[in-house]
Symmetry: C2
Subunit: 198 residues, 2 copies
């Protein structure tokens, strides 16, 4: 189900050609992967939660939904989703969020730091990191407007598959925050190309 | 209650010194104002819905809540709020969103175009426009994850007041989208400094 593995609390960046498919797999279950995307031909065009939520008219995105850029262009279509619970409200965890939420734990650079390092060779500055599409992240919005970070509902082998609607630079992590992953850190698998046989 | 008026379907940009207060008033009621903010000393630091919602642990922001930057620094504190219903999920309306949501209406450059023009003298590129804090915008999140754009609940003279926590470039509009404002376009008032006597 996977070509490559992102070790716990780390991240990668790579090119994804237009029309190619990216499958992201929760290898062990209950783990989050933060995904960001940039137009490979002009990295100032970037995935946008605000544009996407506006066009989708919902905050729960799944099969058939499109992730849009800040220029209102389709970047990724979700073509298959075995989980159906993802977050597009929150920014990647960072040194600052670790200090805020986990003052008794060692500070970690988090998905933000991992993405910043992985994306630097593509000319992407840390200030250009948007709200990520947080795959498998479980962030219910309650009736009174409160949001909570709950353990993912993904089980071992669950995956989500995207099609690139333009040439993309992708950043992808195995998330580093305690709350996002039910308190433990696990790897994330990914594959590029047609979905492999189960 | 106001020093300056933003005409319907237009926008302005201005500097707001650290510690200064900005009051935004819905002069006629049922009107939205999109607000964006940048660090005046380094405009790559920008208001972030993802960071703000993460720290606030809620999507409904009001008196006492802080709007954070992409670098996790406080930019604006809401010091008084007579409405309590605002949106921080959706991007400013634009030519593309007009084509999408109002195909039978004339295309308008929207808050996005108005902000882009107003912010250009500050060295801010249209691609640097984030999700705005949409003052008075009424976007309920329903139990199934759907979001709808409802008329604002603000009445004539209702206002919200912010304190700048760093030197800021502010962009501010009188919103141009039909759904956001109950189908009509009205002006927005604003004032800088201590809150004037009612």
């Amino acid at each position: 189900m996977t070509d490559a593995i992102i070790p716990p609390r780390s991240g990668v960046a790579f090119l994804l050609g237009e029309g190619r498919e990216l499958t992201v797999t929760d290898l062990e279950g209950v783990q989050v992967a933060d995904l960001v995307a940039y137009n490979a031909d002009d990295v100032k065009e970037v995935i946008s939660n605000g544009r996407t939520l506006d066009y989708a008219e919902k905050i729960k995105l799944t099969t058939g939904d499109v992730l849009y850029s800040n220029r209102s262009n389709p970047m990724l279509t979700i073509v298959e989703d075995r989980v159906g619970t993802h977050d597009f409200l929150l920014t990647p965890c960072s040194e600052a969020t670790f200090r805020h939420f986990y003052p008794d734990q060692p500070v970690h650079r988090g998905c933000f730091g991992n993405l910043a390092e992985a994306l630097e060779p593509f000319g992407i500055d840390p200030d250009m990191l948007p709200v990520a599409f947080n795959i498998f992240m479980n962030v219910p919005v309650h009736g009174d407007g409160r949001i909570t970070v709950e353990p993912p509902v993904s089980r071992p082998g669950d995956f989500i598959r995207f099609r690139a609607e333009m040439p993309l630079v992708i950043g992808l992590t195995a998330c580093s925050a305690y709350a996002s992953n039910g308190g433990t850190f696990k790897p994330i698998g990914y594959a590029i190309g047609p979905h492999p046989k189960a």
